[in-house]
């Protein structure tokens, strides 16, 4: 069930030549459990591919230079900044975006906790926070307050002062420990 998506070709790129290396790449990856094949210019970032080629706009941009964390996604379960990741480098890998973090029937405990704690005010940092926290909980099931803050130290938030976010992450950890279902981040399909 693969779908091939061809990225938009800016007019300036419509010239081809026979120099070494590839100007265009075909990249196979799995995004939120769905196999995808994208043919895109080599300079396409994962952020651009997700938002503009796949229409997955849940991953946000706040600076595009790796200075805010808003574009955090999971690649093979590990947090990566989409703005500094070439699409080429996720060949054969599994990508999880916020849209793939849980389902309506079974939201991720972090999502439940964020809703419960008011941890999404404007919501723009939320996707990045959720995915970074999901990776943390997959690695450390019972993080202390300090460990949560350290894990989220690369995700800026301008609304919450981080307090409700940290509380939500710890609440989610308790929920999981108490038996709430916990889909393993990034590792499904």
């Amino acid at each position: 069930m693969k779908s091939t998506i061809v990225a938009t070709v800016p007019p300036a790129l419509q010239v081809d030549d026979s120099a070494p290396g590839d100007r265009w790449l075909t990249v196979d990856m799995t995004v939120n459990g769905v196999p995808r094949m994208l043919r895109a210019p080599a300079h396409r970032t994962l952020l651009e591919a997700l938002r503009e080629d796949l229409g997955l706009t849940g991953t946000k941009h706040g600076c595009e230079l790796g200075e805010c964390g808003a574009c955090t996604v999971l690649v093979d379960g590990q947090p990566r900044l989409g703005c500094l990741t070439l699409l080429a480098s996720v060949e054969g890998r599994t990508v999880t975006t916020v849209e793939g973090l849980g389902t309506t029937a079974e939201p991720h405990p972090l999502q439940v906790a964020f809703v419960d704690r008011g941890a999404a005010q404007c919501g723009y940092c939320t996707g990045g926070m959720l995915l970074t926290a999901a990776a943390l909980l997959a690695d450390n099931a019972d993080p202390t307050e300090a460990e949560v803050r350290a894990a989220l130290a690369g995700n800026l938030c301008r609304c919450t002062g981080y307090a409700s976010i940290v509380a939500a992450v710890r609440q989610a950890a308790r929920m999981v420990a108490g038996g709430a279902s916990h889909p393993r981040s990034g590792a499904q399909g």
Binding site: P20, R23, L84, A88
Partner: protein, 350 residues
Amino acid sequence: MLHLPSFRYLAPRSLSEAVGLLAELGAEAQLLAGGTDLLPLLKRGQLSPRYLVALAGVPELSGIRTAAEATVRDGSGLTLGALTSIAELTRQPVLRRHFPVIGHAASLIATPTLRSMGTLGGNLCLDTRCTYVNRSPLWREAAGDCLKCTGDVCRVAPGDDRCWAAVSSDLAPAMIALDAQIRIAGPRGERVIPAEALYRDDGLSHLTLSAGEIVVDVQLLRPTGVCASYMKLRPRASFDFPSLGVAVALRMAKDECENARVVVGAVASRPLRIAEAEVILTGHVPTAERLSAAADAVHRAIRPMDNVDLPPGYRRQVARVFTERALQHALRQVPARAGANGALTPGRQN
């Protein structure tokens, strides 16, 4: 949205293939490791390589290996592949046990996600940085582009004829303090140099790598009795590059310091070994007066420029304080001195 400029992408599968490609493509090629330094440079138009050579698939650059041969005075050795992630450096058990200063310096770099993406080689080879350099084309046009980009004047020191962009690596001072050995592969074969020799004090060209050379790995040897410490000054507890980095390493024999290294980062285009401070410490018992004198020597020796966060005069003052504290912290690790007092004073010790 900021976009990357277009380029042609190559992904060699071996070190020899990578070296061959660089030789073939010449100055129009840039190496891509984690990409966390390179991609922003491209997005800001500071570099526009025709080719990106991705190193992720080169096996010789990965892995952490314990040295087979015995090293000086029965210490243990460790070889770290250049593609080792910064995050891995913070976690690696042998590093933590025998070279804790490396893991500590690594833990102070950037953010958790950037540490997962960034590499040892990438951090050692980080481009020099400056307020006038790491800027968009509009900004640099408005400022008058500088020596490091397309202009011909250093905006930080207009009277000088050199570029003062600051070395921005946190690992480099620590590696130099421990006299790490860097293996380099290039068109003329392999060579191994001490970490110190990787750098020159020129903001434009601060790495001594020749055309087509690639950092392969870093070897750490551990003579017994070496204690080390690294302190980083930055405005926030995350994200920020060093405004100052002070690394010290002392090889102790009983009460005496047999050999001292004091290395300061972010105050020049290369990490600076402060010989004047090392002389004060080497061959002597590290008394409080000696530590203070060494710290004074660092203060006198460095000339930070107004090109990174925090004012240069302030960074000089803190260099004195951090040198003293780093030395105290290092000495507290020595078993014989384990009773030494002194809780670290509050504040961002880093």
